[in-house]
Symmetry: none
Subunit: 235 residues, 4 copies
């Protein structure tokens, strides 16, 4: 590196300065680098935030890079410095959404002791996530219900973590004699994921029907599903 080279012709006694020198050099370089990184991160985030905002206004599919650029006060080309394609923007948000969901699961589980309560907690967390982060929920299910070829390894990794989390709860439940041992944890994990996403999706799509039908409320449906699931897996 440039600096090293220069240092090599510095007279011996000058090297006394090196410690201080390096400290401030290191700091200033580091700070400069950090500033640049931060700036990049800030713009990166700005694009995501604007995209999110626009999607919240107009829906997942109406996202349009012209609008994003305009709203983010950037040139359209600039977007492409941060994301290779529109798809990548969606992907980044979907990744974020999945991570949020995983975090929500972990959070909701942490206070539970029995395996079945934990699984109920996962369903509940899913529901709460859906209720409080509609766009993010949509992003999760968008990639979950459509066959995108564009799922990145990172995105798959989060799903894997979610799956593993559920599988480990199930196994724990089987060891504790809470859950029937005849059920393969992998199979249960995936069908639970399907059922849960399906029920949430239904709440979303049939929101109007549900709100007008006296016997139906979101809570009742969730509760019914949760109980049914719990009974179904119990020993």
């Amino acid at each position: 590196m440039i600096i090293e080279d220069q240092v090599s012709w510095l007279p011996m006694f000058f090297k006394l300065f090196r410690p201080t020198f390096y400290l401030c050099e290191e700091n200033s370089l580091l700070m400069a680098k950090m500033k640049i990184k931060e700036k990049k991160q800030i713009k990166y985030n700005a694009i995501l935030e604007v995209s999110e905002k626009l999607m919240q206004l107009n829906g997942l599919h109406a996202l349009n890079l012209d609008d994003v650029a305009k709203e983010a006060k950037m040139a359209k080309g600039t977007l492409y410095l941060y994301f290779k394609s529109k798809e990548e923007i969606l992907g980044a948000l979907a990744l974020k959404a999945r991570k949020m969901l995983l975090a929500a699961f972990k959070e909701n589980i942490s206070s539970k002791t029995s395996a079945i309560d934990k699984l109920k907690g996962v369903i509940e967390a899913n529901y709460l996530f859906y209720k409080s982060n509609r766009l993010y929920y949509d992003l999760v299910s968008f990639y979950e219900i459509s066959e995108r070829e564009t799922e990145t390894p990172q995105m798959q990794e989060v799903i894997r973590q979610i799956t593993n989390l559920i599988v480990s709860i199930i196994e724990e439940g089987q060891e504790n004699e809470e859950i029937r041992k005849s059920i393969d944890p992998n199979v249960l994990s995936i069908s639970m994921w399907g059922m849960t996403v399906g029920v949430m999706q239904l709440l979303k799509v049939k929101a109007e029907l549900i709100s007008t039908h006296q016997a139906l409320t979101e809570q009742k449906i969730i509760q019914n599903y949760t109980e049914l699931f719990a009974i179904g897996i119990k020993k």
Copy 2:
């Protein structure tokens, strides 16, 4: 139109035929009307058939009215005499798909005696329908998992019939002491629909994952889901 214009220059003596013409007017008018209706129906169906064919070839979303018109040997404008919009074509096919699904449910149930077997039959029919009519299944779930503002009353009606069918099975099961009475049939009906669609969707989206994971097969997942459901509702 050209023909009308020509008729207008028909010579006087041609009007002699009018009396006879009038005599059979009622019938002929009816017949004419029927013919017209039939003709309309024929074209209407032709458009749907062509659309279906093209969607089967290229997928749900690749449908393109230029191609439909060309394939149906009509002008593009003609399509708009039979359907207000592209959306309406999709809607009509989705309606057909729902009707087919309802029929499949009824068919599969007919041989079953116990309520729980009937409900299992519904799940099975759903799966079989998914396996054998991919496009129609897609059409059902496309409208089921996305919030289309374009669901027509007719489409809702079929869903109502499906719901009613399931509700009545559940009620029958409760009377027979097969199914726990604490469950509200309406609630169960809707959550069953959600779960089932969700699990099917998962099979579709995660097909690759499932096929590469040794512990997973479509059958196992379906079976696991079905059993879990059956146990969950049993008395």
Copy 3:
């Protein structure tokens, strides 16, 4: 067809009118069809003319569909009703250019009797074509000097005709003992084509050099090339 059907219930005596009727019908239909075809042709030509004009102003490569649409007072989409792509516009003009060149060859040859004079005529026609139809010449050589994958069969056909024309002149010359028989007509035909295009291209590219160099004129170069060629092939 509609018209046939109606005719079928026309009373006998009305059929007397048919001849006249058909005549005018036929005429009017034909005329309508012709009008439509003509209209299409007019627009098709308009697009080509506008493209040609713009290329003449800004060069072959600056052609831009926005400008074409604006200049032709059409919507951009309309262009795509007449041409599948920008490439096709270029191709159509290049085809026209090749046809014009072939015609120029034939025209210039027609008055010549000896084979060598005919070949000289081809070179001369090439030069005259270049001088009087610069854009078209560019279009010919654009496709001739760049490796387009987009040469259509039609375009290749014209080149084939040009080649055949030259081959047949050479063969004729060999029969007449004008041209050495040791030369393969196919080989000569193609190298003649290469040389000629090359010399023209040079005139074009080095126009400035030529005009400033006292010993050089286009005519001298062409003449020198022509003679050299003639001597080179003579018996």
Copy 4:
């Protein structure tokens, strides 16, 4: 720049070295200047090498400054310190290509004694150059067949040298009574250049046609052209 800045804070006693430094100043300044020039040259060359490499991979027209910068491990802006524009990079490479071609001519001629053999040698060298340095050949002909306003004096100079070389061979041939004296050497030189480039271009563009046509091979065409040319100019 960083280095300058640091030097400026060097402690006083470091200046003791300055006398010595001054003694050799003239030299060192020269050396420094040379080093700077060399450094510049190194980067300049690096850019050209990378550009060449990328063009060899993807073709003449696919060159893209983003890629160049990345591959050369420079910032994109840095490219503009060494070249005013992308065009200038191409120009520099085209100049190199022309120089290589001139060198190839000289090399191939050196062993020949008769003027006609030398001219044949030029054609042969052209063909060999085309066969073995495709990119460079493309660069030569790209500037030779398209009217770039960007031909620099340097580039023109090389062409002048090529022309002079050929002119002098022709004159030599005329003195030796090998070549007809009626031909103006300047005219012949330029038409020979045109023909030769044209035939090579044809080999390139019609490569497929040639390879599929039984009567045609590159060698036959070149040979036919060469002979025809030789006969055409012979006394």
